[in-house]
Subunit: 207 residues, 2 copies
Amino acid sequence: MQEVKLPRREREKLRHRRQMLAAALALFSEKGYHNVSMHEIAESAEFAIGTLYRFFANKEDLYRALMLEHAEKFHEALTKALETPDDEIEKLRHYVRVKGEVFGGNLSFVQLFLAESRGARVNIKARLDEEVRKGYDETLERLASVFKRGMTKKRFKRIGDPYALAVALDSVVNAFLLLSLEWPDRYPYPEDPDKVLDILFRGVLET
Amino acid sequence: MQEVKLPRREREKLRHRRQMLAAALALFSEKGYHNVSMHEIAESAEFAIGTLYRFFANKEDLYRALMLEHAEKFHEALTKALETPDDEIEKLRHYVRVKGEVFGGNLSFVQLFLAESRGARVNIKARLDEEVRKGYDETLERLASVFKRGMTKKRFKRIGDPYALAVALDSVVNAFLLLSLEWPDRYPYPEDPDKVLDILFRGVLET
DNA sequence: CTACAATGTGAACGCTGCGTCATGTTTTGA
DNA sequence: TCAAAACATGACGCAGCGTTCACATTGTAG
């Protein structure tokens, strides 16, 4: 994680790259992939098109870089949240809380992801999706194994397949996050993770 | 609902229109709005481009027609499902079952909807979204009021805001549907709606 | 059979947007 | 100080797409 000792030139190069990615993210998330031109991105980042193409082979490559970098961040955070040595219930609480935090700190990326990710955007992605998706699926598997462990420990009722439960929890979390995005005032994402988990907990927990 | 008594010519016109819409839906859902050209649609429907433009003013108009027609179908079905005079629990069961049915019968539309609806596809839609979204929101409101009624009747615990519960249920249903789309064998959408509802019920129901 | 309306056709046009490359500018190292 | 390497630039070529319109074909009514 230490990258301070790079030749002056290289550091600037990286900084430029980041600026371009940032500009691209802002534009993509606001207008959607297809409604943003490479010229627009270059202009917004205050570089010439040629320069943009010096960093990214083409539009899709730029997009892929954007997605991969952010997705990795998400994946790491959520994985770590589930790695804490706490018991199962506490793990789920961590998950809900951390997901809310990472989400809130990367709104434009989330917006972009939701806008472009679902369905068969065959040309774009197809391969990208596979990579991003892999991390997401892995997270879901870890979530599922938390449920599974909880069941064998008799802390959770065997209400359904652990993976299905993981999917259910994650989708509820997503729904609440989306809701808070639309009406931040009326439905803010709750500080207390149990406000979310109760929906499952009060049913899943062994009484 | 009876439209049989139309002049021969008109009926053919309608049939052609439907063929074009069907071709468009197939292509859009497979490749996404922006990756399908009007030429492609025309060819796939076995008409000339000029003919296509005789039926739809432009690409967006065609897309709008597609979305509106299908969305209406969905909206009607779900509204009816919640209108049955049964008690609250039965209504929810209806909802889960009917949504599964309509979903299963319109896979390509669902795929298209999921692909294009989320996020800020500013140019396209914006206005369309508003129309389709309206129906969706209305359905959610009705769902919410089912939860509310159930609470006042003391059949449901007051675990959270009724609207939030509605959103949660709907998102779980969607997640299960999506899941069944990806792995039909391992996670088929359950015949028995309680398989889905249990996740909420066993927590929400007053013991 | 004829004239008119309705419907179908596809070549052509204008425009947008991706990606290239010859040229100019800055940095480096000797 | 100077040559070579690294980097930046933006006018241009080119392909693809949405849309139009003058013309052809088919159906209808008198």
